[in-house]
């Protein structure tokens, strides 16, 4: 008797969640401001 097995590729996904991307973007912006790349942000 044959057994049907579903094999999926178990390659690890390194895609970040939207949540994590937002943190990365905000921290990067904070570092750029700290490094003096942007000296002021008008409002």
């Amino acid at each position: 008797m044959s057994i049907n097995k579903v094999s999926l590729s178990s390659r690890k996904s390194w895609n970040l969640s939207l949540d994590s991307w937002a943190v990365v973007a905000a921290l990067l912006a904070a570092l750029l401001i700290r490094a003096g790349v942007f000296t002021r942000v008008p409002w």
Binding site: S2, I3, N4, K5, V6, S7, L8, S9, S17, L18, D19, S20, W21, A22, V23, A25, A26, L27, A29, A30, I33, R34, F38, T39, R40, V41, P42, W43
Partner: protein, 361 residues
């Protein structure tokens, strides 16, 4: 012999293509948000010059109103939709950057107060919504989704719970529609009630953060009252968001024990997966600001950047709210949500009043 069936993998879209796809929508968010900012400045000046009595309407409300007008009249064309959906990204980035305006001591003190209030709010909200769902004869999993949505954090919590308890897509869209419709209503009712009751910025901000379900709407409801109230609303809401993993885990265990969902294996990994990472970003920026990693000017720049991010968020709140679509989802989930929200709003108002007497705000 075992036959191996290899399922075809969907080819992910190219990152560059994905990036290009969001540009029109992001530009629309920026245009709507900036129009709101211009209207705030110019309408007030025009009314003053013509001796009209006109209430000072903040950019937050203008941006939401313009977005609502577009979404509910001409609609948002397909080309803008992926970009408009990025409003959640801007919201979370804005919250992380807002951490620069909180010293760690304030976060711990206010966060501690918020945490105690959030625990009480979650317990009462879940118990009441569950009873209400049963009384109205809603499907049990729809009741669970509505309870989580109103107790913790709106749409994100509903989506996280849907996967964990294996609820139908239909139940999930009912619950999301009800929570979004009630969130839109809260934008107009909460500031009016706050002003009528002469709530302080502190009390109102805590109340909005505890009672308004979706993070974007809670942030907007706070900012509509005042800048200080907006800050407090974000802090209280962030504390509430931090509880999402625990509540979803409890529901997953409950439905698994009834044989209607998968058993949760590694609970710590489950909690980490559901934990909103922007809470950690917010704390990190707050710690850096507390230990003077940023100069005063840099802190102002970070705070302004956070305002720009929120500006895009508020435009997105209006643009993604379509009342016609929400009406299609039926009245009963909305009625359960509405009754529950009113009770939760009254309960959290009483909690905030009690905490205000205890801690003097």
């Amino acid at each position: 012999m075992a036959d191996a069936i290899v399922l075809p993998q969907a080819r992910p879209a190219q990152p560059a293509l994905q990036f290009l796809r969001v540009i029109p929508g992001v530009l629309l968010l920026a245009a709507v948000g900036y129009a709101g900012k211009l209207l705030e400045r110019n309408v007030g000046t025009y009314a003053k010059a013509h001796h009209w009595t006109f209430p000072n309407i903040e950019y937050v409300l203008w941006a939401i109103l313009i977005g609502l007008a577009i979404s509910n009249t001409v609609g948002v064309p397909q080309i803008f939709r992926s970009g408009v959906a990025t409003y959640e990204f801007w919201l979370k980035a804005g919250i992380v950057l807002l951490g620069s305006r909180f010293l760690l001591g304030d976060v711990l003190k206010l966060g501690g107060v918020s945490l105690a209030l959030v625990a009480m709010e979650i317990a009462v909200a879940i118990a009441f919504m569950t009873l209400l769902g049963r009384a109205f004869g809603l499907r049990p999993k729809l009741t669970s989704l509505l309870a989580v949505g109103s107790a913790v954090c709106g749409v994100s919590a509903i989506i996280a719970t849907q996967g964990a308890i294996e609820a139908d897509d239909e139940d999930s869209s009912f619950a999301i529609a009800a929570i979004l419709a009630l969130g839109a209503l809260s934008l107009f009712t909460f500031p009016l009630i706050g002003h009528a009751l002469h709530l302080s910025d502190h009390a109102y901000g805590l109340w909005a953060g505890l009672a308004v379900d979706n993070t974007a709407e809670a942030t907007a409801a706070g900012a509509l009252y005042s800048d200080a109230a907006g800050k407090l609303a974000v802090l209280a809401k962030t504390t509430r968001n931090a509880m999402i993993g625990f509540v979803v885990l409890a529901y997953a265990i409950y439905w698994a024990s009834r044989g209607e969902a998968k058993t949760v294996g590694n609970k710590a990994a489950f909690l980490w997966q559901k934990f909103p990472k922007f809470v950690l970003g917010f704390l990190l920026i707050s710690i850096l600001a507390t230990y003077h990693f940023f100069t005063k000017e840099q802190t102002t720049a970070l705070a302004n950047l956070s305002r720009w991010a929120f500006l895009l968020t508020f435009a997105g709140v209006g643009l993604r709210t379509n009342f016609r679509e929400m009406r299609k989802q039926g009245l009963r989930p909305f009625a359960v949500g509405a009754i529950g929200e009113v009770v939760i709003a009254v309960f959290t108002l009483a909690l905030v009043a009690g905490a205000g007497k205890l801690f003097g705000f």
